[in-house]
Structures are given as structure tokens and as C-alpha cells.
Symmetry: C2
Subunit: 132 residues, 2 copies
DNA sequence: GCAATATTTGCCCATTTGGTTTAATATCAA
DNA sequence: TTGATATTAAACCAAATGGGCAAATATTGC
């Protein structure tokens, strides 16, 4: 074939809003893709805490935890209120809702897919459906 | 500064199951933390496709897309069935359910938080429940 | 003022990531 | 067989990540 791949112009246009949403999802998912940070969120789900308190259970230096907190903060997953030397951190609800919203896109697929799977199991038994 | 931080033994024990779940969540969230990969998932939500088809809309080389697909696959987000030269990819439902499950942990916090906010707004109790 | 506390910043390092290009492999089709 | 197609593998590179440590910056309290 002459054109194995479509030209760049043929790609779907991406709106500014989409790009902003993508940036946010990038930051949110990246922030969640680390168990230390997820652990910090789990701790904060039990209530606000200052940085030193948050860092205490982790076998790493304070600056490292501080950096993790900044990643969480820049993803909007936590907020901090500074009172003197004390930085009090607390969970924020909005970004996790963002994730929920993103997931909702696929929930429709799941349901449809489970139905299709049920159909498939009954109809086609000869060829292996999917080699893992 | 005798014991500024608790000893390693004081940290909560982490079970093997937890570590496996953490590994999986690491892979899932990392896989989702890239817009190209999310875009691939969005495409696959509309139905299975072969690698070349999947790569076509993206302004990057085929090997790059191939790598992205492998990341998605190793996170269990997609599965592939190989038929001759054709690798057919399709969405998998399980990992997104895993994310849902993880999110459910925090949903309780949201509700409690929204309830607290509602209480705060409606009634005249003194003192906000949680500093933002 | 001075020391202790809470936190961040800067620099260093090894590893990973996300992309490239150029083979290599496997399959289909003429 | 020969050549095109579908896909991965290998080697490479720049940039980001996650960790360390030492120093800087505020702030608190004596």
C-alpha cells in the first residue's frame, strides 16, 4: 500500500480542554503510580497530618517524603495549610472524582463486554478465543 | 533527637498479598499515567484491533506503540490473541475493576467529607469539621 | 540572641521512561 | 522462492524519577 499510515492531519483533533484534562490525568495517575504516595493518601484518608507525622512510618528520608507530597499536591490530590513551620496536609476529593469520571467511560464497556463474553462462550467453542 | 523517627520495626507489617496488590496497582496506574496509552485504551473500548491499526492515528513510530501496548498488557489492561502475523488486542475488564476497588476505599472519605460539609453548611454548629 | 524544630532546596546518583532507528523474525501471498 | 506485511528486538539517547545527603530557610521557644 502507498499509505500504510494516515497523515498527521488525519488524526482526530484534540481540543484545549482535552489536553488540559489529559495533563491533569497524567499528573493524577502518575501520582497514584507509586505505593509510597498511595500509602500517604491512605494515611491522610484517616485525617490531616503534618509532614513529619506523614514521613514517620516510611523507611526513607524526610526530603523524599516531602517530594512525594509535592507530587501529590501538584496532582491536586492533597492540599496543605501552612501555619508557621507546620504544613498540615489533607486529602482533596476532586481528583479522585476525576479518576472516577474517567473510569465511568469504561464501565459501559465492561457491562457490554461481559454480555458479549457470555454470548461468545455459548456460541463459539472451536477456536481458542485468546491466547494469553 | 534521640528518636526522631520510629524504628523500622515499628512500621506496619505488609503482607505478601498487599505487596502483590501494590505491584499490580503500580503497574496499572503507571500504565494509565500516559495519554498515548489512555488513548489506546479509548480506542480499544470501541472494539478489538490489531497493532498496526492501533498505531495508525499516533504521530510516533510503530515500535513505540508496540512498547506502549506491552506496558498495557503487563498491567493486564489489554490482552492479545495472536493469529499468524496479526496480534489482535482487546480491552480487559479486571484491572479497571481493581482501580475501582482501590477508589472505593476513598469514596467513604468523600461521602463523609461531603456530609460533614452539608452538616456544616446547614446547621449552626461551631467549628468546621476539618481544615481544608 | 540562640538552639531546636519543620520543611524545602540543591546537587548527586542509578534506574526508568519514552522516543528514535535499524535489524530480526514470522507469516502471508504470488 | 521471493517479496511484502505485521510485529518485535536491540541499541541508543535525552529526560524524568526516586532515592540519598548536606545545606538553606523559617519559625518557635528559652
Amino acid at each position: 500500500m502507498i499509505n500504510a499510515r494516515p497523515a498527521v492531519e488525519d488524526r482526530p483533533a484534540v481540543s484545549v480542554e482535552d489536553r488540559l484534562a489529559d495533563d491533569l490525568l497524567d499528573r493524577i495517575f502518575h501520582a497514584l503510580a507509586n505505593r509510597t504516595r498511595r500509602s500517604l493518601l491512605a494515611r491522610l484518608a484517616r485525617g490531616p497530618a503534618m509532614v513529619t507525622q506523614l514521613a514517620a512510618p516510611f523507611p526513607m528520608s524526610l526530603p523524599s517524603v516531602s517530594k512525594h507530597l509535592r507530587v501529590l499536591e501538584s496532582a491536586g490530590l492533597i492540599a496543605r495549610s501552612i501555619d508557621g513551620r507546620i504544613h498540615q496536609c489533607c486529602l482533596t476529593t476532586e481528583p479522585l472524582r476525576e479518576v472516577e469520571f474517567w473510569l465511568a467511560h469504561y464501565r459501559a464497556f465492561w457491562d457490554q463486554r461481559l454480555e458479549a463474553l457470555a454470548d461468545y462462550v455459548e456460541s463459539d467453542r472451536d477456536g481458542g478465543p485468546m491466547t494469553t
